[in-house]
């Protein structure tokens, strides 16, 4: 059933799904079924690695800027906004050139480095609300340093929203990987991932080979959907916990 995902079977180029090739073969004669099996690893690895990097960056940048005095905070946020205003495409091309050849690891670094800004904003907003609470003040008065306050008092509070954003970031990173690979800026065709498989779709369109486009894409979408549901589930739990406090009255009205 599974074959070598890299083996180009030139006698069976562009074959429709059938008994031997469950999902057909692509224009270069590779078996799509096994490419999906092995390519998923790379797509998921990139998703998680990039998210790890961007989450660490976002939490650090967001909490430093949230805790800093207003002036430094303004400068830091200005920088973040500046980062947001540099076209993402340019940044990606540049970073990719800096990190040399495009393999899965350098691509995850590139995606991680371009994807932390919006999360940093959320973390900062949360920290700003938290930093004037009494227990943070108490911890500071007792001599707690920045990292102590961050990890023991701030992080547990903004953890739910960061968790939700992190799951969404995994999703975005996978989308970014596939989009970049599709555009020819990400992984080369020899490195099999769901995105680089789809980079063949231009020629597939011409030869009406729907399976090259539909099947890897369907797997991609299913994965993304799972991640989204996971994220929504986490956020849903967080929301309910908050709204229990003072909104039962209006809920009753809605039910009537």
């Amino acid at each position: 059933m599974t074959k070598d995902p890299l083996y180009m079977d030139l006698a069976h180029c562009n074959e429709a799904p059938g008994k031997e090739f469950l999902f057909g073969t692509d224009t270069m004669g590779r078996d799509i079924f096994s490419m999906i099996r092995y390519g998923g690893r790379i797509s998921l690895t990139i998703g998680f690695l990039a998210t790890l990097l961007s989450t660490i960056l976002a939490v650090l940048a967001g909490s430093v800027s949230g805790c800093a005095p207003a002036r430094i905070d303004g400068v830091l946020m200005g920088l973040t906004e500046l980062f947001l205003s540099v076209p993402g495409l340019l940044l990606t091309v540049f970073l990719q050139a800096v990190f040399g050849g495009s393999d899965a690891y350098s691509l995850s670094v590139v995606i991680g480095l371009t994807g932390w800004m919006s999360m940093a904003k959320v973390v900062r907003a949360e920290v700003l609300q938290l930093k004037h609470t009494d227990y943070v003040l108490a911890a500071k008065c007792l001599g707690g340093g920045f990292f102590h306050v961050l990890f023991r008092h701030l992080a547990p509070n903004f953890f739910p929203s960061v968790l939700f954003m992190a799951v969404m970031n995994v999703r975005n990173a996978i989308v970014a990987e596939s989009t970049l690979s599709f555009m020819g800026l990400g992984l080369p065709m020899e490195e099999v991932s769901w995105g680089s498989m789809l980079s063949l779709s231009e020629s597939a369109l011409l030869s009406h080979s729907w399976w090259i486009i539909l099947i890897p894409g369907a797997f991609l979408v299913a994965t993304l959907l799972c991640l989204t549901n996971l994220g929504n589930y986490m956020r849903g739990r967080a929301n309910k916990r908050h709204s229990n406090l003072g909104c039962q009255g209006s809920l009753n009205i809605k039910k009537k």
């Binding site: 207003a70 905070d73 303004g74 946020m77 200005g78 906004e81 500046l82 947001l84 205003s85 540099v86 076209p87 495409l89 340019l90 940044l91 091309v93 540049f94 050139a97 800096v98 907003a125 700003l128 999703r171 989308v175 596939s178 989009t179 599709f182 555009m183 800026l185 789809l198 779709s201 369109l205 009406h208 729907w210 486009i213 539909l214 894409g217 991609l220 979408v221 993304l224 959907l225 989204t228 549901n229 929504n232 709204s243 003072g246 909104c247 009255g249 209006s250 809920l251 009205i253 809605k254």
Partner: protein
């Protein structure tokens, strides 16, 4: 009071100008530091046949041998006179290259933005009104699925179905050859790209509207209004919507450059001649002058719209303004 007002305007203009300048420095440096040879953009494959001396000469002529700072100063000087240099790839004035294409992107992105703006509000309102009923659940399900479909794949899918299999709609370009002025022809070419742009963003914003309204619906004033005899629908339209609108407007102000400038994937798949494909080409092939202008166009728009978002929410909701006056710094979106 009036003095304070003018001061604020001047302050904002200054902040805006400063950010644009810093952005231009940043883009300039990044594009120069990125490895790659701009000569390829100018001469294409012929570079390989040129001798080293010829290459050096060409660099000298294009002003690429000067120190980075001198190059930037020169560019800035030209830019203030409205001279942005020539595109290495197209060998004409950058302004002409962009002018020929910006209309297409503005039509695609602008129409997309308008559709998203209206539809997201309507969908969000409808879902909030029918919270947790069948209609809301079905829409949420479908919306979640559409938000998971990567833009480029949606575009491929539509191409496959409507352009290849059914052959109903054209799959590439902005107009048929020789029919540049034909509005109907352009509209037909716009259907597929526009669908992708709208579907790609719609649910994200509609969901935000829905969630914001659901928060609003749980507030005490809703209880009061209901007790006074207003119907649920009336409360939703007259009171809750009003509470949710400021954050929606500032969110859409931030979304504007995102949607307008984020069309490059769609443009690439549909070979739609717009700014997006131009940005992609110039970043990839080191077409410095073109890249600078395209980046500055989109970047300036991002900066402008972000500031606009702050001002809008300050205008509509004075609480935000007071917050920012008391040292809270930037306005936070909800």
């Amino acid at each position: 009071m009036r003095k304070l007002y003018i001061g604020r305007i001047l302050y904002n203009i200054g902040k805006f100008a400063l950010r644009v300048i810093v952005l231009s420095v940043l883009v300039f440096t990044i594009s120069r530091l990125a490895p790659g040879d701009p000569l390829y953009a100018y001469y294409g494959e012929r570079v390989e046949k040129m001798s080293v001396a010829q290459q050096e000469q060409a660099r000298e002529r294009l002003g690429l041998r000067k120190p980075l700072f001198t190059q930037y100063a020169r560019w800035l000087q030209g830019a203030f006179h409205g001279d942005f240099g020539i595109s290495y790839q197209y060998k004409t004035d950058v302004k002409e290259v962009i002018a020929a294409r910006i209309g297409n992107t503005l039509i695609l992105g602008g129409l997309g933005f308008l559709l998203i703006f209206v539809l997201a509000l309507l969908l969000g309102l409808f879902c909030a009104w029918r919270e947790d009923r069948a209609a809301d659940r079905i829409i949420c399900r479908i919306g979640t699925v559409t938000s998971c479909v990567p833009e480029f794949w949606l575009a491929l899918l539509l191409l496959l179905v409507f352009a290849v299999w059914l052959d109903w709609l054209p799959g590439s370009g902005a107009y048929s050859i020789g029919k540049e002025g034909d509005v109907a022809d352009r509209a037909v070419h716009l259907v597929l790209p526009l669908t992708v742009v709208v579907l790609g963003h719609l649910w994200y914003y509609a969901f935000q509207v829905r969630n914001r309204l659901l928060e609003e619906v749980r507030a005490d004033y809703v209880l009061l209004a209901r007790m006074k005899g207003l119907s649920g629908k009336q409360v939703l339209y007259r009171h809750c919507l009003r509470g949710a609108l400021p954050s929606y407007l500032s969110m859409m102000a931030v979304a504007l450059p995102h949607i307008l400038g984020g069309t490059y994937v769609v443009e690439t798949v549909f070979s739609y001649p717009g700014i997006g494909t131009l940005a992609y080409e110039s970043a990839r092939y080191q077409d410095y002058n073109l890249l600078m202008v395209v980046s500055l166009l989109t970047g300036t728009m991002v900066i402008f719209c972000n500031m606009l978002a702050g001002i809008i929410s300050g205008r509509i909701d004075p609480r935000m303004r007071i917050h920012s006056l008391t040292g809270g710094g930037e306005v936070r979106g909800c």
